[in-house]
Amino acid sequence: MKPALTMNQAMAEAARCLLCHDAPCAAGCPASTAPDVFIRKLRFRNLKGAAKVIKERNVMGGVCAVVCPTCSLCAAGCTAAGLDEPIDIGALQRFIVEHAWEMGFSPLSAGKPNGLKVAIVGSGPAGLSCAAELARAGYQAMVFERLSAPGGMLRHAIPDHRLSPAFLERELEDIRALGVRFRLETAIRTQQDLDSLREQGFGAVFLATGAWRCATLDLPGRPREGVTDALTFLMGAKERPKELRHELAGKDVLVVGGGDTAMDAAVTASLAGARDVFILYRRSFAQMPGSPEEKTLAMDAGVHFMILTQPVGFETRGDRVTGLRVVRTRLGEPDSGGRRRPLPISGTEHSLPADLVVEAIGLSPDTSIREIRSLRTDEAGRIQVTAGQRAAADLPVFAGGDAVRGASVVAKAVCDGKAAAAAIRKELGR
């Protein structure tokens, strides 16, 4: 992780804040973390008050501070940009949260037990924020997680160099302290599972199962060895970093895709000691959906950017990949999404050798949850909800986060978790 600000650096950065009358940063935060308020509190040396605002509004305030793409959220409208640079809101938020941890100050507390139980399915930021909100209101919040550790993408996908496991663990500690409980290695998938939850006395269910299905290259002849999807690659890197170093030493890696997941995979490969790491993207650099921060990280890690380059086939020896066939592209007319469409340039087909190909071309919600009656999903597998994150008309079932939005960001998952908690409290009357 980047080094944290010192107290003096934080005070200097806070002093640059213009303390706007109608702070655009506040409007830009999906999780309503109120940067205008916590920066003002920091400026006036009320560090506990600042930490309280952050944590009360966003139980993932530490993680968000570290991973939020601030330049497209809170910092996007920062008035200070009219003078020089936008305020580094993420760095200030992290400083405040870590300072509170160091001081042993926990602003949140569990509510008086009201005897009601709610089941939360999925321990990513959506599930965690819903669970924490409910625990603060006196509910018994039980989080069911199919994997062996809580945290969702934060734990299993976002690379350690951007979000250290210890940092995440510290934030989870705050949530556990509220009495939120976890039942790990327990998937909730079927109607039967859901019925059983109701039988166990859970008055409502929040589905926050994320978007874990990776799109794969739709090309003929995909070999069995040497091609992997980005999530599998990133999870492996976090679970078995030593093995990855061993596997990648001196190897060349091709990452296909231009989003943040592609950047994370490429940087991870590079840091693990791969020889040459390429990002293959069929449009232009400016069109890459990856955030500026992540693109910069990738460039700093020495990743080669192969833009306007599109894979057209695998090269293999036996069952193993040896590279990709690619063509160069140029940009044509805008497609339905408004982005200019990549057109192959004839006569440019050639091979790029590789020992490993990582597919990072999109994530969508996993379809297994669809077995649950009265849930509706769209063609992309996203659970459909009405106001208050309600996912079923006849049952107290709610949903949010990537499972509803498709691949999105942590702050929006937090927002959904909070909204669901509010709706559940209304539904259950406490």
Binding site: N8, M11, A12, A14, A15, L18, L19, C20, H21, D22, P24, R43, T79, A80, G82, L83
Partner: protein, 415 residues
Amino acid sequence: MTRYDRLQTTFCGVKFENPVMLSSSPVSNTGEMVGRAFDAGFGGVVFKTIGVGREKIVHPGPRMAGYDYHSDRLVGLQNVEQISDRPMADNMADLSYLKKNWPEKVVVSSIMGFTKDEWRDLAKASEDVGADMLELNFSCPHMTVEGSGMKVSHAQALVGEFTAEVKKVTGLPVLAKLTPNITDITETARYAAEGGADGLTAINTVMAISGVGLDDYTPRPNVAGKGAMSGYSGPAVKPIGLRCVAQLAQADSLGLPVSGCGGIETWIDAAEYLLLGAGTLQITTGVIHYGYRIVEDILEGLDFFLAERGLHGLDQVVGKALPNLVPTDQFDLSSQGVADYDLDRCVGCGQCHIVCQDAGGQCLTWDDADRRPVMHEERCLGCMICSFVCPVATPPMITYRVVPGKPEILPPPSV
């Protein structure tokens, strides 16, 4: 080292190659240190205050505390340091060392006696080792020796008596260093003048408490669990220093040259002191913060300031702002104005709107869609607080515009 002809000056009959001196404090504690300050460009020194050594001097530990404002360090400095703790002979040897090796620099001996005899002895000894001038310390606010320092100024007649005592034994020009911790600094100055002082130095430190520890309930600096009201210096006291210097320079029956001191860090601070009547300048906290090197930019900046205006010497600057310094009853109250907004340069923070609502005349409303203030000039008091908080400050986006015949604005009773 650059020499600046324009900055040469004569003060109390002594020639200075430039008017910037170290003031008496740890920055002028030893000959070796002052030598380096001279090499860096200082035109003179007021050496750390010397006593005869009859009373043992021990500096409290720690002897200073910094005062920070947000992330700005050392906006002010509090100290409980005493006069020099070194043997008188060593200090005198250092004065002689300095005169020998830097004959063109001005060496002022700052002295403090606890009896008339001591004042005389110190004056005589300083003259014997070649000091160019004397500065009598009547102003240290935190002496541990009863009845000394600032206490002398409070028993005003003693200022005159001790000055006269010194003048009896020496022909050197004598400066009286005054304290701002008194109702009217010109009264102390008058006693000094009657005693025969040739000039005045102002200011010594301002009595203050720079902070209190919230864990130990102890005012700063925390000296083994206790704090004391004591001397405060640095940029925070410059406005008080400027006021005192101007008071002394304007007191026409005094007619004594003034050496200005208090919070000088830049050539701009220096120019302000000169314009209000200081003939030479003294610095401590600026050096404690940045080292001797600050003198380089003070001298160069002053030289540019004079050159830009086609001025040949400091006499064309010293005191030139005094005619514009008047008692408030001499203001032209018929001249009134409003805040003028260059909205093309506005970044839209709305701080002007907030302060106008909460501390001004409520003449600004806020356009939510445009994110810009909207001025209703008929309610503008012209108080200009909006311009103080506006971040678009160089050059200012909000300026004062005189409105001839502006009607009086009196808020109606609240309903």
